[in-house]
């Protein structure tokens, strides 16, 4: 088991003929991800690393059969259209890699995805990997690296920083601690699947026995994870690190933001809330593997 993606998932790459699309298709293929088709409007008929290219997602589906996941590598201003195309065609999971997608575009994708019961990771995500099974996006960069850095195991990783997603997983691997699925939820404020939704997925996954979460200041994601734990919806051991302690607390964006969030969003608020519900909050990233090892040795006891 793992969450969101495994060795059977059938994947299409939208924007496969672009700079990143081409390079990362190779990463995914070399890692044995089942990339069954690529899409670039106007470039149908060709091949990229042996993957047939089509003009549309529907055409790809008609030719290669069922598509489970679409990984999107198109310029930011085209992401909304590409995502809607995939959702309309019936794809149930999308990975929106590009950075700088306008926020109202993301909100529209969320609404349409709700209507069609589709989900997405990102935007502004490096992607995700279920070690030994499949990788989506650009995490690891090259397949050899992804194989070296990430190894199969029972720890779920969810992170708001792309680089730290890899870093934490690599440090776990170094300690002999494998991962079930590693997810970079994305760096933006509004995400398809944010930390709380990922925790719910890990809760359902038998193979995942513990989770590491890299949080950051801003948004209410980490506080909402604490809410899940409090209401019994997430019960597995959780190790968290919150980045941005040294960042000067900026001027509030608006009064409205302050009315809604109150003190939520700050470093102190997140750490306090997480500790209240028994989360192991690491002071430094290098402590994470040590805490994980200790928990594993105690057979993941929930004794906090």
């Amino acid at each position: 088991m793992s969450v969101l993606v495994n060795e059977k998932s059938r994947v299409v790459v939208q924007g496969i003929t672009g700079r990143e699309g081409t390079v990362r298709t190779r990463l995914m293929k070399d890692y044995n991800t089942r990339v069954v088709a690529g899409v670039t409007p106007g470039k149908g008929g060709g091949k990229v690393h042996g993957v047939p290219v089509f003009d549309s997602v529907v055409e790809a589906w008609e030719n290669v059969g069922q598509i489970d996941i679409s990984v999107i590598f198109v310029p930011a201003f085209l992401v909304k259209n590409a995502a809607l195309e995939a959702i309309d065609a019936g794809v149930k999971l999308l990975v929106l890699v590009p950075d700088r997608v306008p926020i109202f575009d993301v909100l529209e994708i969320i609404r349409l995805a709700q209507d069609k019961e589709a989900r997405f990771v990102g935007p502004n995500t490096l992607g995700l990997v279920s070690p030994g099974k499949a990788v989506l996006g650009m995490i690891g960069g090259r397949a050899e690296r992804a194989k070296e850095w990430f190894c199969p195991g029972d720890i779920g990783v969810s992170s708001r920083s792309g680089g730290m997603t890899s870093a934490i997983s690599y440090y776990l691997t170094e300690e002999g601690l494998g991962q079930s699925t590693i997810i970079h939820v994305g760096g933006d404020a509004i995400l398809g699947l944010s930390h709380p939704e990922i925790m719910e997925l890990f809760e359902q996954d038998d193979e995942t026995r513990m989770v590491v979460m890299f949080g950051e200041i801003g948004t209410t994601q980490e506080e909402r994870v604490a809410d899940l734990i409090e209401t019994g919806k997430f019960t597995k051991p959780l190790i968290a690190f919150i980045g941005g302690k040294a960042a000067k607390s900026g001027t509030r964006f608006s009064h409205a933001g302050a009315i809604i969030e109150g003190s939520r969003g700050s470093y102190e608020s997140k750490v306090k809330r997480l500790k209240e519900v028994g989360v192991h909050v690491a002071d430094s990233v290098s402590d994470i593997p040590k805490i994980a090892k200790k928990l594993k040795n105690s057979n993941y006891s929930r004794d906090r």
């Binding site: 306008p102 926020i103 529209e108 969320i110 920083s161 870093a167």
Partner: protein, 520 residues
């Protein structure tokens, strides 16, 4: 988030059908007098800054006559309020206010939708009022596909016990307000106070919009120079950096200055991170060592070598820094040798004399560290490369040690010098620059290693000289990835015949000014 000034925000509201006080923005006491005369009524003078609580800072003043307005304005212009030098004052008719309200729009990350907030009590201290009088505040999530419907607006206001004609007036304003915010991709918007005047008209007495950085490209009419979140106007150098980011979409480049003045008294360094999370962690490591950051910079998302080069040149346009610290997550997915080559080219051109610690852990880090080690031996400064198994804390410690040993201790900014290229050079344009090859030198080259160095495979030999194997147009469109590998090979192993000119618009003038200042 790119903030708009009050006067800009109000212009958009007015166009969207919301009543705003009659007024105009002035840049001099003279203009203040003229505008006040035109308005012909008592006025209010409002400094245009991105700060809340302006009244408490003396930034809101009233005047009965144009002479009084001019007089008061002349005392305000040029003064400094927090980070702002006052250069714009909004002059408006003074309203006769009966009551004040609040309306705000945010994007709610938990509900993943826009959220509209209305309060029947407005004005200063709105957060406090919301806390102590929750019954006066109501909120509604908006379906982004349908927008705010008029009955939703009426329900929102009705819940704060407002009824009758005022209910209709306010709900009309709210639907228009949402439409303006949506049309301009506002990340947040607020009218505080929204007022009812003695003659029973609703006005937006104050308004602030911040535009989504990522959507600024849709609104060139707003004239936003730097689509970044700042609590002060962008600096000259930040504007230069932003132009680089604008013109090269390969990867992300973010730069802002963290110190008003980099004095020699403090231990300032130039900071070059990669990726938000890794940069924050690295920043913590150097700050814990007592360093101060002259700037924050982030190049990530697989940037081109040319972009990293420009980032380095911009960081090194700050005088008096004592070290250069580059560090990201440590396990980056991007090919790290691009960053290494970018820095090698920049450090050589600068003849860097302050120590550098470059932590390039991640994909191909071995190659990246080797590039730094091989090609930075003969510059005045000591530069060390590190990888994923070297912690940011250790790297910060190394920087401290190197800085202690280093003389001269401070970075000196040099003028921008264009290379003197021989006439009749072979050249082609790249995406953001120009590559030239001095073919006169090629006969002495034994290895022709530039051909092999070019991983994009766009160079071929013709009569023993490298030329493009693709068309000039293709090279410019991006076939030449500006990876800098051919130049670095030729410079260090062969005849120094290849040069890639990567201009940074505005940097020459900026550095001239810095050099001039340092001589004063």
């Amino acid at each position: 988030m790119a903030r708009l000034y009050e006067f800009q925000s109000k212009k958009l509201l007015k166009e969207g059908g919301i009543r705003v006080p009659e007024g105009e923005v002035a840049c001099s006491p003279d203009e203040v007098r003229q505008i006040t005369q035109r308005i012909g009524k008592p006025v209010v003078l409002k400094i245009q800054v991105w700060l809340t609580g302006r009244a408490g800072l003396g930034g809101i003043q009233f005047a009965e006559t144009s002479e009084e307005a001019e007089n008061k304005a002349s005392k305000i212009f040029g003064t400094k309020v927090k980070n702002f030098v006052i250069d714009k004052i909004l002059i408006e008719e003074k309203l006769k206010i009966k009551s004040e309200y609040f309306a705000g729009l945010v994007i709610d990350d938990s509900k993943k939708s826009p959220l509209l907030i209305f309060s029947s009590v407005g004005g200063t201290g709105i957060e406090e009022i919301a806390r102590s009088h929750p019954e006066s505040v109501s909120r509604a999530s908006i379906d982004v596909l349908t927008g705010l419907k008029d009955y939703e607006a009426r329900n929102l206001i009705r819940r704060t016990k407002i009824s009758g004609k005022l209910l209709l007036q306010l709900s009309d304003v709210l639907t228009k307000f949402y439409n303006v915010a949506r049309q301009y991709d506002a990340r947040s918007a607020e009218m505080n106070p929204l007022v009812l005047t003695e003659d029973n008209l609703v006005y937006a007495a104050d308004c602030h919009l911040t535009i989504d950085d990522y959507a600024v490209f849709r609104h060139p009419e707003l004239g936003i120079e730097v689509a970044r979140e700042f609590d002060r106007p962008p600096t000259w150098l930040e504007k230069i950096a932003y132009q680089v980011e604008e013109k090269d979409h390969r990867g992300t480049f973010y730069f802002f200055q963290m110190a008003e003045e980099v004095s020699k008294k403090d231990k300032f360094i130039g900071f070059h991170g990669a990726g938000g999370g890794g940069s924050m962690m690295s920043m913590d490591a150097v700050l814990n060592r007592g360093f101060k950051l002259a700037n924050y910079c982030d190049t990530s998302g697989n940037p081109s070598a040319s972009k990293v080069y420009r980032a380095s040149k911009i960081i090194l346009s700050q005088p008096n820094i004592r070290g250069y610290f580059a560090s990201g997550s440590g396990v980056a997915s991007q090919e790290q040798y691009h960053s290494a080559r970018g820095m090698v080219k920049a450090f050589h051109e600068e003849k860097l004399s302050i120590p550098g610690i470059i932590r390039l852990g991640g994909n191909f880090e071995e190659k990246a560290i080797e590039i730094l080690g091989t090609y930075l031996k003969d510059i005045p400064a000591k530069v060390e490369g590190y990888g994923r198994d070297d912690s940011p804390e250790f790297c910060a410690q190394r920087l401290e040690e190197l800085i202690k040993e280093n003389q001269p201790a401070y970075h000196e900014v040099k003028p921008v010098v264009d290379p003197a290229l021989p006439k009749n050079c072979y050249f082609f344009e790249t995406m953001t620059g120009k590559l030239s090859i001095d073919h006169n030198k090629c006969p002495d080259c034994r290895t022709k290693g530039c051909i092999e160095a070019c991983k994009a495979e766009i160079l071929k030999l013709e009569d023993g000289k490298p030329v493009l194997s693709v068309s000039q147009e293709e090279a410019k469109k991006g076939k030449c990835t500006e990876c800098l590998a051919c130049e670095i090979f030729c410079t260090f192993h062969e005849q120094d015949a290849i040069f890639i000119h990567l201009p940074i618009p505005g940097l020459r003038e900026y550095r001239e000014e810095i050099v001039k200042k340092s001589k004063e």
